[in-house]
Symmetry: C2
Amino acid sequence: MKGTLSLGVDIGGTGVKLALVDGRGRIRRLQKFASPTKESPTEFLNIVGRWIRRFVGDRHLKTLRGIGLGVAGDVDHVHGRVRISPNLQWRNIPVKTLLRRYLPSIPFIIENDANAAAWAAYWVETHQRAKNLVCLTLGRGVGGGLVLNGVLYRGATGSAGEIGHMTIDLNGPACPCGSRGCIERYVGARALVERVRQAIEDGEQSLVTELVGNNFQAVTPLVIQQAAQRGDRLAQRIWREAGERLGVALASVVNLFNPERIILAGGVARAGRLILDPARRVMRQRAFPVPGHTVRVSLSQLDQDLGVVGAALLVP
Amino acid sequence: MKGTLSLGVDIGGTGVKLALVDGRGRIRRLQKFASPTKESPTEFLNIVGRWIRRFVGDRHLKTLRGIGLGVAGDVDHVHGRVRISPNLQWRNIPVKTLLRRYLPSIPFIIENDANAAAWAAYWVETHQRAKNLVCLTLGRGVGGGLVLNGVLYRGATGSAGEIGHMTIDLNGPACPCGSRGCIERYVGARALVERVRQAIEDGEQSLVTELVGNNFQAVTPLVIQQAAQRGDRLAQRIWREAGERLGVALASVVNLFNPERIILAGGVARAGRLILDPARRVMRQRAFPVPGHTVRVSLSQLDQDLGVVGAALLVP
């Protein structure tokens, strides 16, 4: 007999998360591992398969509704393959085939991690009320997921929702994706850290220098956030500029999707009002009035667990 | 008994079009009028109501499936109101209420004209095969409509799809919409004409001067197209630059929507390969590889009739 629990698996460049999730999106049990990124993709997935087998155990094996797996990258959810994952350095990996043997009789789906996050935001944070929702994960990269008309929107090949790679300045800095001026180049963690380092190298004084004891490898969005909260001018400016640029992108998102909700997650979003206030201000200035005033922009409550919960909830 | 014909009505800033359209989107009869823009909105709609009544006549009155009306502007399709139409200078007009009395017993729907155009492109040009389709109308303004998962996508308040007001340069020229660097400011007819005039004022030689007999009020996209086709350097550069900027926007559209098809219509699009070739090239350079190679970008065959046919086909 089928139970109400699903297993969510979130595979990222740094960590792998497993969670038993109930029908309302609540986590019943959670376990985290460091990603075995030194292994080949096949061995990586063998290791994850054994973790899953152990985590589920005999107790849940018979009643598990299914397994939902979220992976950072371009996912072919129909054939259960990862086409390409820059974070994991995977290319054309038949994830579903490799993992299925560890739990052969259980339904198994695979999805892009930002899509899974959007689904969790829709399901758990809006209780399926915001039928049109855009979720942005602001981390090392900037991922995006779309729920439109109450359905996860994937597009023709499952590649939709790459909001991080919308151009806001056609002559802007080059992006690893091959384009220029992508929003990821302004609000991704790497971009923020780069900007702070550059400014300090150029002679600006900042609390950041002190906070990292002159070790600029240790600069993170959290450090820049702490500096800003303690009144550091440079850090405050970096957040304001990042927020304003995010606002430009959100105005375009609002004009295109006219969503009820935009939900932000990820390490960079945790700076809260430092980035949210300027983003909302610029978004309202630039977007069309009706959709601009309809949309609510907020931080995710689930945040780091969005991906793993969403993957579980996507199991039919 | 209900027949298979619907009436499409397309209300724009310059013309009003009426068409009897069959279930496959073929126009059976078409009539065009100049928009009575000097009248108040109420009188404008009274005039259109009488045109409709006469056009439908007694013969079709009993069998008409319904009336679909497309209007340039922000349309509240639920309540049948135009919230705002900059082209028509309308604000909060209860179009449905005003028009219904002319044909009281017939189902009546109202939709944004670019949304209607997208629906016609999906229905007639792709035979409902391209489940995810983006339609851009490049005219005086740049409108957009979205068919996603085989459904017309409207968003929370019916305002979705304003692709013309996606920012490609955050510090670009101011747009009447209140934002900056919107794609409309680079590929709208007004922007093209402005750029040519400016270049000639700055001393550049161009065939355009000759074609309009020094009357720069007479410059249109068609004139710039003719100059380019006759080898004029300035005109060719203007089209190439417009196409490249359109390509930047299309790359973002591809990364966001991952559509099977992008269909371009409107006077500016009629320049054909002058604008399409650079747009496709830049789009492929900048978009993610899988969605960038999946999408097909083409000109509409129905073109000027997209709006009126789509409005008719939207009648349930």
